[in-house]
């Protein structure tokens, strides 16, 4: 019930904003560059990145280690300042978007606060954003259920396995109503079966709520299975080498992964990746 409400709320909001929103993509980057100054000289983490993410897109970022995937998400989240080009989020600057709490961010590592229980960790953004006590409790138990952690509310992070912690951190990002989710390898620490299960769950959530999701992964099947759009990146300097629009339907059972179409897309992604790997 509560879930349905949330969905409705989301839809309502979408409807309300419809007229104004028409032309504004959720994320739009133009010639975006970011260079870190380090002791060993400058590191070009992002170089001339052009990318548009539309409302409702599920975009995966894939590429070798160090190609700037995390950096791109961090720039969008206003955690890093670009050194060139522009980027807008919901038509605003990243800073405004951050201040209007436009997105939820799942970090590469779980990053739970060890002094708070799992429930307390999920409640944290809700407290900060000033939700009422009742709503906090309601949302915590709802999102805990969503990631199969019901019953672990009172445990502390270190009492959970790495995978469970990762799920809790996903729940934390889902607890409040952000239309945009930035997820940095959220399923990296999980084994294949759990990963499959959470992939399904995430797709269902995305489908239900119409959220926009930007998703970093190292796994080609995962990227293909989840995305409407796959961004392949290559390092030194980090740039986008390929953007693959998925032709898979929105409805995706797990065994879609055995389909010809799936395998073709996966192949294209692998080729794109391999091309970026020459120098390694």
């Amino acid at each position: 019930m509560a879930l349905d409400q949330a969905v409705k709320l989301c839809l309502n909001r979408t409807n309300l904003e419809e007229p104004a929103r028409l032309p504004a993509p959720v994320i739009s980057a133009e010639n975006l560059s970011l260079t870190f100054q380090t002791n060993d000289g400058p590191v070009h983490a992002l170089s001339d990145v052009n990318l548009t993410i539309e409302k409702g897109d599920f975009v995966s970022f894939i590429g070798p280690s160090g190609c700037g995937k995390t950096t791109f998400l961090r720039v969008a989240a206003d955690l890093e300042q670009p050194t060139g080009g522009t980027i807008t989020v919901n038509g605003m600057s990243p800073e405004e978007a951050r201040k209007s709490r436009a997105y939820g961010y799942v970090f590469q590592a779980a990053g739970l606060y060890p002094w708070r229980t799992i429930g307390g960790n999920i409640r944290l953004p809700l407290e900060i954003m000033g939700y009422s006590k009742a709503e906090q409790a309601e949302r915590v138990s709802r999102t805990l259920g969503l990631v199969d952690l019901a019953g672990f509310e009172k445990k502390y992070p270190w009492q959970l396995s790495g995978g469970m912690q990762q799920r809790a951190s996903i729940a934390r990002a889902l607890a409040f109503d952000a239309d945009l989710l930035l997820m940095d390898e959220p399923f990296g620490a999980l084994d294949e079966i759990v990963r499959d299960h959470l992939n399904e769950q995430l797709l269902a959530l995305w489908d239900r709520t119409g959220k926009t999701i930007a998703f970093v992964t190292h796994s080609i099947p995962e990227a293909v299975y989840l995305s409407t759009k796959i961004v392949v990146m290559s390092p030194r300097p980090g740039r986008v080498t390929d953007v693959i629009e998925s032709t898979l339907p929105r409805e995706r059972p797990l065994d879609i992964r055995d389909s010809r179409e799936f395998i073709e897309i996966a192949h294209r992604v692998r080729e794109g990746l391999r091309a970026g790997h020459v120098e390694d």
């Binding site: 961090r74 989240a77 206003d78 955690l79 951050r98 201040k99 209007s100 709490r101 997105y103 939820g104 961010y105 970090f107 590592a109 990053g111 606060y113 060890p114 002094w115 708070r116 944290l124 953004p125 407290e127 900060i128 954003m129 502390y156 270190w158």
Partner: protein, 281 residues
């Protein structure tokens, strides 16, 4: 006669050690308590036997038994001294010094400029023998406990400041980025992230200061005091060669100091239960 006592002391040392080595193989709360007690008891016994065996004059080092007697005979005086030095001098100075350092640390943490200016100067001052301030403080704040509290507060300020500032910077990048993504206010970031993350450091500072507080209060009394206080008692009784009373005061100091330390440790355990260092080795 004396030789046998010395040999007995040696035997007790060996015996105590053997017992402890055996004890240490066990586990649990009882052992954790018994082992140090046993060690302490052995130490006292050896002290007693050696002092008697070697015929050390009581004006140099009294045996533990004499100290015990002096302790029990002087409880009212010792209590008054304890209140004067520990409760009034050390505790109030401790609270004031640590409190001021805490507030300063929060300010320093807010401004990079301050941090860069205050911290090097702070660590320099922290290395000063602040004890040298004692005669000056007696001159400024009078003979009462206030001057002792001032010495204690000064001694505690910098260690506490350095620790707290380090602690406030202890939250890792991801943890603070998380707060940023929530667009949390500085106050929210402070209460919900920085302070909890800093608490192991804060408690480290608080623990260091417990020992400093007692030492500071006692030594400050050497430079002038009313006619009571632990430092006063020690120095006056040394003049009268009443070393048993002196050691009784030292005993009070050790008990008070250890208890103080223990209480802060317990608080630490309660507040930082989540920290790996508190979750067993």
């Amino acid at each position: 006669m004396s030789m046998t006592l010395i040999i007995a002391a040696l035997a007790i040392w060996l015996g105590g050690w053997w017992l402890n080595a055996r004890l240490a193989r066990g586990r649990g709360r009882a052992v954790a308590l018994a082992a140090p007690l046993l060690f302490g008891a052995t130490l006292l016994l050896i002290w007693e036997l050696l002092v008697r065996g070697l015929g050390v004059p009581g004006a140099i080092l009294p045996p533990p038994s004499a100290i015990g007697v002096a302790f029990s005979q002087n409880i009212p005086t010792l209590w008054d001294d304890f209140v004067q030095t520990f409760v009034k001098g050390a505790l109030s100075g401790y609270a004031f010094g640590c409190g001021a350092a805490f507030v300063t640390a929060i300010l320093v943490d807010r401004s990079d400029f301050l941090k860069r200016g205050v911290m090097p100067v702070g660590s320099f001052v922290a290395a000063l023998p602040i004890i040298g301030m004692a005669p000056i403080f007696v001159m400024w704040f009078g003979f009462g406990w206030q001057s002792k509290a001032a010495v204690v507060a000064t001694m505690c300020f910098f260690p506490m400041l350095v620790n707290t500032v380090a602690g406030l910077a202890a939250a890792d990048r991801m943890q603070s980025d998380l707060m940023r993504t929530y667009a949390a206010s500085p106050w929210q970031t402070l209460t919900k992230l920085k302070l909890p993350a800093a608490s192991p450091f804060i408690f480290n500072g608080l623990k260091i200061c417990t020992t400093l507080a007692l030492i500071g209060a006692i030594v400050a009394e050497f430079f002038g005091s009313p006619t009571l206080g632990m430092g006063f008692r020690i120095s006056t009784q040394v003049g009268r060669l009443a070393l048993d009373v002196v050691w009784a005061v030292i005993l009070v100091a050790a008990i008070a100091g250890s208890t103080f330390y223990g209480v802060v440790t317990l608080l630490e355990r309660a507040a930082t239960f989540w920290h790996p260092s508190q979750r067993g080795r």
